[in-house]
């Protein structure tokens, strides 16, 4: 799984064996914070440092969808 910038489409993309996920800016910011160590709460906290309105449920929903589709794994720690 790889987070990358696509200069052709001018947007972030998540690349994996499953296929390609085109991300918007906030989606890319969330994925970028997923390092296997931070909790969802910590990710939300970090996002609040950059964005005015961060909806916890939206972030949780986004991460849950990515996990369900095999794009992300929950870390051990």
């Amino acid at each position: 799984m790889r987070l990358d910038w696509d200069p052709v489409r001018q947007r972030h993309v998540l690349l994996g064996p499953e296929g390609v996920l085109l991300l918007n800016r906030t989606g890319a910011a969330i994925v970028d914070l997923c390092d296997g160590r931070q909790t969802t709460a910590e990710i939300v906290e970090r996002l609040r440092g950059t964005y005015d309105h961060v909806d916890v449920d939206q972030v949780r929903g986004f991460l849950t969808r990515l996990i369900a589709r095999g794009w992300l794994e929950v870390g051990d720690e």
Binding site: R2, D4, D6, V8, R9, V13, P17, V20, V74
Partner: protein, 382 residues
């Protein structure tokens, strides 16, 4: 118009295996004039500029290309996500290390069955042990491992043991894909199609395995479309997300589309961008304007895109008809007839009745049942 996300690069149709469900063309000898390394470099560069992000390196057996490492390195340098789809025959430790260093992202190894004798019997080659060694090698080098197993009447009843094998090999993913009936598989359809009873059992096994392996191994299970109520959204729509480049440089909206006899579009003569945007082949079934009824007024027309053009052609002789696997298709009786025959057969079908893939085009079918297709359908190369 969408930009393509993925490209299937069929580097060569040469293959050490002889699987009777191979999706390669029957006229393999016509594809010996393969693109050069320099050609592939140019094609990959053009593909990236066009928007391709994911590159599937396939064949035939892509490891048969001596320049595979160079091709992978070029793709990696361009920022493409590279996926090697291989039989693993030829994946030596040194070659694997070179591919890893060149930036190969993912390896997908085909298995024919869990059992060596059966697997080698289906492949027509002693390959199973080598696949096991290669799968371990893939794990050792830190690649994610996907196994893919083409399912049919002769291995479907062993699905639980196939899943055990994947678990023992610590695969991250397993793709269990029921045979799609193109190329050699269409020729062998009568002897490959499973019965409804076999499929019901298989689905139960997949459900249980998904529960048991949740979070450890992802299981992708592809139903045979002959048994489904709706057709598959072939390639996510014609000329919409994916393209295929054949070993000789022909560019196709899907790997089976060579049967349709569309105007040829080759990277030897044209840019990939022109072929994607303007070629008659890619425009022919793009969007929904070409659709006949019942697709044209169907609420699912942008879900399954009328199904598969190649299947429509192979089963009705007209690529612009609704895919006959759809229960709403006026040609659905052709599929129903095939399924009735498969589910009625009293005597067991043996492996020996399958025509193995060969370069010469294969010997004639051993069973006349293989020829019992409805009128108007002429599989390629017959």
């Amino acid at each position: 118009m969408n930009r393509p996300l993925g490209m299937l690069a069929e580097l060569t149709y040469a293959c050490p295996l002889h699987c009777p469900y191979c999706s390669n063309p029957l006229n393999l000898a016509d594809y010996r004039e393969e693109l050069s390394t320099a050609d592939w470099r140019r094609v990959l560069t053009e593909a990236r500029a066009l928007g391709v992000l994911q590159l599937h390196l396939s064949g035939g057996e892509p490891l048969q290309r001596r320049d595979l490492v160079e091709i992978v390195a070029c793709a990696h340098h361009l920022g493409l996500y590279t996926n090697l789809i291989t039989s693993a025959v030829g994946l030596s430790p040194s070659r694997a290390r070179q591919l890893k260093d060149a930036g190969l992202d993912h390896v997908q190894i085909s298995f024919q069955a869990d059992d060596q004798a059966l697997a080698d019997g289906i492949a027509g080659a002693r390959a199973h042990q080598r696949k096991l060694a290669a799968a371990r090698l893939v794990r050792e080098l830190g690649w994610p491992l996907t196994l893919n197993v083409v399912l049919h009447r002769h291995n479907l009843d062993r699905l639980d043991r196939v899943l055990d094998l994947a678990e023992r090999l610590e695969a991250d993913r397993i793709e269990l894909a029921n045979t799609q009936y193109y190329g050699w598989a269409l020729r062998n359809r009568g002897a490959l199609l499973p019965t409804r009873e076999q499929l019901d059992r298989a689905e139960e096994i997949v459900r249980a395995a998904r529960r048991r392996l949740k979070g450890r191994m992802e299981i992708v299970y592809v139903l045979p479309d002959y048994y489904g109520p709706y057709p598959k959204p072939c390639m996510g729509g014609w000329g919409r997300q994916q393209l295929t480049v054949a070993p000789n440089g022909d560019v196709l909206p899907c790997p089976a589309a060579h049967v349709l006899g569309l105007p040829r579009a080759s990277v030897r003569e044209r840019s990939l961008a022109w072929i994607w945007q303007d070629s008659p082949a890619f425009q022919r079934f793009r969007g929904t304007g070409w659709m006949p009824e019942p697709c044209r007024s169907c609420p699912r027309r942008e879900i399954d895109f009328g199904g598969c053009r190649c299947q429509a052609f192979q089963l009705t002789g007209d690529a612009a008809r609704t895919d006959p696997v759809c229960h709403l298709s006026p040609d659905h009786w052709r599929v129903a007839q095939v399924l009735r025959a498969v589910n009625r057969e009293a005597e067991p079908v043996t492996l020996a009745s399958l025509v193995p893939r060969t370069r010469a085009g294969g010997r004639p079918p051993a069973r006349s049942a293989d020829l019992s297709e409805p009128a108007g359908s002429h599989p390629p190369g017959r």
